[in-house]
Amino acid sequence: MNPTIKRIIFFAVLITFWYTGSKLEWWLPIILPSPEKVLEALVIGFEDKTLIYDLIASFKRLAVGLGISLVIGSALGVLLAKSKTADETLGTVVLALQSVPSIVWLPLAIMWFGMNEKAVIFVVVLGGTFVMTLNLRMGIKNVSPLYIKAARTMGSTGWDLFRRVIFPASIPYAVTGARLAWAFAWRALMAGELLSTGPGLGYTLRYASDFGNMALVIGVMIIIGVIGTIVDQLIFQRIEKSVLQRWGLES
């Protein structure tokens, strides 16, 4: 059976169960509001434009934060791959930082930058940077020695060798790094907004929760999930696939 059809049937069954359960009051509306209520909350949110402003605000922070993290992450990755000393010192710190969820930086970030945009963006940057660093470091270290030897016999050395061979050879890793950086940054953004100020999807979620508007809470959760899936599947996985194919790593 076509996977799209399978998916449609699966979601139809799921929503029917949710709808029936709510109708027959298997659970209280405050525990899980019915699909109609969630839809209604979403429609109201889009009609009075709060959700649109939230989306714009969240994406602005994400773009800035992810952009910075990709730049810093790549630079650090190159440094760690090229300098043994940096790898043995800074590399250990990066590994440790990568295992710390970036949201735990928020209290410090609020002290440093105040309860504003900057604190959230800082958390987003930390979320994406280190995974990009580690992937690019690995990509550069794993460049086939044969490519380097071949390039050297063709007179390529130093910066020319890096720019024309080592860097392009590590692009598959860079793409994977960027995809993971996006995923971490997106989670960090939602957590940061949840604990910080608005507008933003995370902020609206907490606001709705404070007022017991569980339908809107679920609505925002659905938006977060849908955006995450779309960006991952439609953008990053496609890029990754075409890069792997071109680089001859997958047929």
Partner: protein, 262 residues
């Protein structure tokens, strides 16, 4: 002599930190335009020797002079073809061949030059393909075109056809012979196949192992094209085989002795 290899010596430290001789007292002269094969069993250091001539591996002692200049690092006067094609997968066939030409030519010149050599290896119709779309034999032909495109005086080939099937290899032998005749390059060709070396080269340098030394320098006096002189080829093959057998036996004996020691 166009290439002079004088007293070249190469040592590696093994895992117990003992210095092991890989190459010992290698002396070899190659004339301009000569096709010289370096033949030997695995582990005799023939690939290391080629890598030293390429400038990729430093020698422990001795020196190599090519066209009057001492070799210290890789240079465009020496093109190299490896056992794997080593093409850059993110570039098209044409872009791969242009790679060594980027700095010294305009884009147009480089393209014309690259196309010329791709036609020489009969891949003129594949210029916009990516390497992963080509067969192993075609990839190796692109690698040859890429090495030739720099117009080096010397072509270094490290078992270039070793990973190919017999039919493809035989076709590429003929192509290489034609290219060599057309371009007059000096070729150093590393191989472990006796028949390959007889089919292609003017001279065969037979190497022994542990340490890697030159056992014999054999001039191949069979007129080309050599397919018409099967008998002479077979005789020479038997003569070299007799020579190498002792060496191969030595390797096998040592491996067995090593095994029983463990």
């Amino acid at each position: 002599m166009f290439i002079e290899i004088n007293n070249v010596h190469k040592q590696y430290a093994d895992k117990n930190n003992h210095q092991v001789d890989i190459l010992k007292d290698i002396n070899l002269g190659v004339n301009k335009g000569e096709f010289v094969s370096i033949l030997g069993p695995s582990g005799c250091g023939k690939s290391t020797l080629l890598s030293i001539v390429a400038g990729l591996t430093p020698a422990t002692g001795g020196e190599i002079i090519a066209d009057g200049k001492r070799i210290e690092k890789p240079g465009k006067d020496r093109g190299m073809v490896f056992q794997q094609a080593a093409l850059f997968p993110w570039l098209t066939v044409l872009e791969n061949v242009i790679f060594p030409l980027k700095k010294e030519m305009t884009k147009k010149q480089a393209e014309a030059e690259a196309k010329k050599y791709l036609q020489m290896v009969q891949l003129g119709n594949y210029i916009s393909h990516y390497p992963h779309e080509l067969s192993g034999g075609m990839q190796q032909r692109v690698a040859i075109a890429r090495a030739l495109a720099m117009n080096p005086d010397i072509l270094l080939m490290d078992e270039p056809f070793g990973a190919l099937d017999e039919q493809t290899r035989s076709r590429l032998h003929d192509q290489l012979e034609t290219i060599w005749t057309e371009t007059q390059k000096t070729i150093l060709f590393v191989t472990h196949s006796i028949s390959e070396s007889i089919k292609l080269s003017d001279r065969i340098i037979v190497m022994g192992t542990k340490p890697g030394i030159i056992l014999k320098d054999i001039k191949v006096d069979i007129p080309r094209p050599r397919q018409q002189h099967k008998k002479a080829m077979v005789e020479l093959e038997e003569y070299i085989m007799g020579f190498l057998k002792k060496e191969i036996d030595k390797v096998v004996r040592e491996e067995l002795a090593h095994e029983s020691n463990n």
